[in-house]
Amino acid sequence: MSLVNILIQTIFSQNFIFMRFLGLCPFFGLTNDMDSSIGMGGAVTFVTVMASVVSYFVYYFVLIPFGVEYLQTIAFILTIAVFVQLVEIYLKKMIPNLYKVMGIYLPLITTNCMILGVTLINIQEGYSLLETIFFAFGSSVGFTLAMVLMTAVRIRMGDSNIPAFFKGAPIVFIAASFIAIAFMGLQGLGG
């Protein structure tokens, strides 16, 4: 599969949130205002790409030579946890301003199922290192796009009069359903 196709697929036609149902916790929990959804998107992009690269090396240069491929789930979640910790320490020391903005989201990222999902799919599909990077980047861009779209919808919804039955969580899910229908229209894009 060409790299451009991977990008288009992961951002639009196979969008991780609307089509694959991964990473829904921040999608419903953190889409109240634009700043936090973009901040979360940026943090997730960074961690996903880095964790995918590291887990690629862990899988092909540690797990396979030792014949313990079945440990991949444990190895990857530890990789992600260690990586999130490192990012946190680095940002705290070197870029305190960015740390202040991203700080609260960082621990949440460890249990974002999209990241573990991306690393596992990379191995499942047998992607090369370059494809891995593109897949990870595309899926996090797709995640950020979904976050921003949902935030915009929720901000507009704040001004409208919603029937009492749908107030709160139900209307958010139903809005997500309609956005997902729009994304269905992009099915088949990118091969």
């Binding site: 829904l24 916790c25 199922c113 573990l116």
Partner: protein, 205 residues
């Protein structure tokens, strides 16, 4: 004491339902609820991991240092998920294939980490088992409720048996992702409506 045990078992069903009320672990719920069989399989897998990890953490709770607890929880959960993967591959390969990536993703299911952090790491073994059972029941009820609606409307069947007759044209949308969001949205709405009505009655009394 007995009512306390009963409370542990039943609180996950409605009052603290992990999916409909706390809205945790949504990824697997929405993705797997395409058919009732998958939903039941996922519930079994979830129950296995939840109860065994709660027991393990509850036994080890006195020796786990506070600052290292989250990594230890994750490693314990991940070990049981790996065991589960082996068992499924050996005995239920078709279910393993249907659930796919959502089996390894039980590791990052927020419900399990949440229960361990707030319950099993503080309470004795027996209560932890009850808590694990209760929370798994709540999870199972939620996922099966969604799956029943999706399978009937989207496929005209339940557990694979056609029930709506051959004249029914399946609404494909309910099998596809948008249907999942729609069904869970409406079911949470119904749930809120019922609990609100019940609490209003309680106030009036």
């Amino acid at each position: 004491m007995k009512s306390n045990f009963k409370n542990l078992l039943t609180k996950g069903l409605i009052k603290e339902n992990p999916v409909f009320v706390l809205m945790l672990g949504l990824c697997s719920v929405l993705a797997v609820s395409v058919s009732v069989v998958n939903a039941l399989g996922m519930t079994l897998a979830f129950t296995f991991v939840t109860i065994l990890s709660e027991i393990t953490i509850s036994i080890l709770r006195k020796w786990i240092p506070k600052s290292l607890r989250i990594p230890i929880f994750i490693v314990v959960i991940a070990s049981f998920v790996t065991i589960l993967q082996f068992l499924l591959q050996a005995y239920l390969p078709s279910l393993n294939k249907a659930l796919g990536i959502f089996i390894p993703l039980i590791v990052v299911n927020c419900i399990i980490i949440g229960r361990i952090e707030s319950f099993a790491s503080k309470k004795p073994v027996f209560e932890s088992i009850l808590d694990g059972l209760g929370i798994s029941l709540g999870y199972g009820i939620a996922i099966v409720c969604i799956a029943i609606v999706r399978e009937i409307l989207g496929n005209g069947t339940i557990l694979g048996f056609p029930i709506l007759g051959s004249s029914y044209e399946p609404a494909l949308m309910f099998i596809l992702p948008p249907g999942a969001f729609l069904v869970i949205g409406i079911e949470i709405g119904i749930m809120n409506h019922i609990t609100k009505k019940a609490s209003r009655k309680g106030v009036a009394r």
